[in-house]
């Protein structure tokens, strides 16, 4: 084996890797026993690699990261399925049937009332559901926002990039749309995504920031202006660049 071939192979054989035990590895080792120059090359490469590797893995970790991760994981764990505890066995007695029917009607009425009331939403579940619905559904399956609240963008920067009428999403499984989502398209930043609006009254854990802040979930930035909570979702391009561009201006 010549020096040039040996050096090409030396570089690709990681230190201690099984590759050294291959036929190529053995040929290189054989060459090394005879070539002092290649031995010094190997020593140089290994020295540099070790030095770089030691620095590469030494990354300081932000304070509180572990707690934030665990808290987010707990939030994202899906709620347990609700199983009805009530069970009415079939009985011949008319009185029992009537009682059962009354109870069922009351239950249905209760459920109907509950369904008509908007539920409080958590930021994590909004981001989860919105990402899933907006990014996984074909555009023709997204329905136009039903106007369950006034969804308007007053900030000029954002209204300029949200040109089409919003689509609506149901997140709580009850009647009506809970959020309005505007398509965001900014060719100059190669950015494409969504701006989601939710009235602050619907959120149980409001983001405290009033400027777009990259945050607690993948590919999203959230903020609130006192009236709405805004969540910007990225489908393409850097959300960080967009946030940097718009920093300081709430929608």
């Amino acid at each position: 084996m010549d020096c040039q071939t040996a050096r090409q192979l030396i570089e690709m054989l990681a230190e201690g890797a099984e590759d050294w035990r291959s036929a190529e590895g053995e040929s290189v080792q054989e060459h090394l026993t005879e070539c002092a120059l290649c031995q010094s090359v190997v020593a140089d490469i290994r020295g540099w690699d070790r030095r770089l590797q030691a620095v590469m893995v030494a990354v300081p970790v932000p304070n509180g990261l572990r707690d934030r991760l665990l808290s987010q994981l707990v939030k994202s764990a899906s709620p347990p399925a609700v199983h009805s505890a009530s069970h009415f066995p079939a009985q011949g007695s008319f009185r029992r049937i009537a009682a059962g029917l009354s109870l069922s009607l009351a239950l249905v009425a209760g459920i109907a009332f509950w369904m008509s009331q908007p539920a409080q939403l958590q930021m994590a579940s909004i981001q989860d559901s919105a990402v899933e619905q907006l990014q996984n559904r074909p555009p023709d399956e997204l329905s136009q926002f039903d106007g369950s609240f006034v969804a308007e963008i007053v900030d000029a920067k954002w209204s300029k990039v949200c040109t089409s009428p919003p689509v609506g999403l149901n997140l709580d499984g009850r009647s009506g749309h809970d959020v309005a989502a505007f398509r965001v398209d900014i060719p100059s930043l190669r950015f494409r995504g969504w701006l989601v609006l939710i009235p602050v009254s619907r959120i149980s854990d409001l983001p405290v920031t009033s400027v777009p802040t990259m945050g607690s979930y993948a590919r999203t930035a959230a903020w609130n202006d006192g009236k709405y909570v805004f969540v910007c979702l990225s489908e393409q391009g850097s959300l960080q660049s967009l946030v940097d561009q718009f920093q300081g201006g709430a929608a």
Partner: protein
């Protein structure tokens, strides 16, 4: 209603979050994005925990999730050939050089200058300590492509870092990033 974490999840976080964050930081070069990637990695791990058969393979599995997520986010960005990467016109990122010793920020500044398709194999090589063959397999690329990319990226990295190490220490007083 909140539910407790899946069995073993807290231990998985405890044992690996530092490594996953470090890995994400070397790939992305941004503390914010790394935290986001780390969070997303553990979220995905939680929802696919059944796929993890052996605990000793957990770290590699988490790295793969983090890398895939990073590459998925970058997939919309056009690829740049290393030859097309010009020298930055803006001043070099402020880093604190420590005499002739390499430091973390110095290395990251040099990594950030590599295009993603060159940076990723470098991180797999140095951070995960994978062989060229393993890297080719992980990235689903021919071995020749990996050899070529790693050879050029490693040379570029060394040139850059050695150049800095030999330069006068102009930014010794600057603060390291808030990692």
């Amino acid at each position: 209603m909140q539910r407790p974490l899946a069995p073993g999840m807290a231990e998985l976080v405890e044992e690996h979050y530092r490594a996953v964050f470090g890995y994400a930081y070397r790939l992305s070069g941004s503390v914010i994005e790394s935290e986001d990637l780390t969070q997303q990695t553990f979220m995905l791990a939680q929802s696919h925990l059944a796929q993890l058969r052996e605990l000793r393979a957990a770290r590699g599995w988490l790295y793969t999730i983090a890398r895939n997520e990073f590459l998925r986010r970058r997939s919309a960005s056009p690829l740049v050939a290393l030859d097309d990467v010009s020298e930055p016109v803006s001043p070099e990122p402020e880093v604190s050089w420590l005499d002739d010793e390499l430091n973390s920020e110095q290395l990251q500044a040099a990594l950030n200058e590599l295009p993603v398709e060159f940076r990723v194999p470098v991180v797999l090589f140095y951070f995960e300590n994978l062989s060229y063959r393993d890297i080719a397999q992980q990235l689903n690329l021919p071995l020749g492509t990996i050899m070529s990319r790693l050879s050029r990226a490693k040379s570029q990295l060394r040139l850059k870092l050695e150049k800095h190490l030999l330069e006068p220490h102009t930014s010794r007083d600057s603060q390291p990033p808030s990692a």
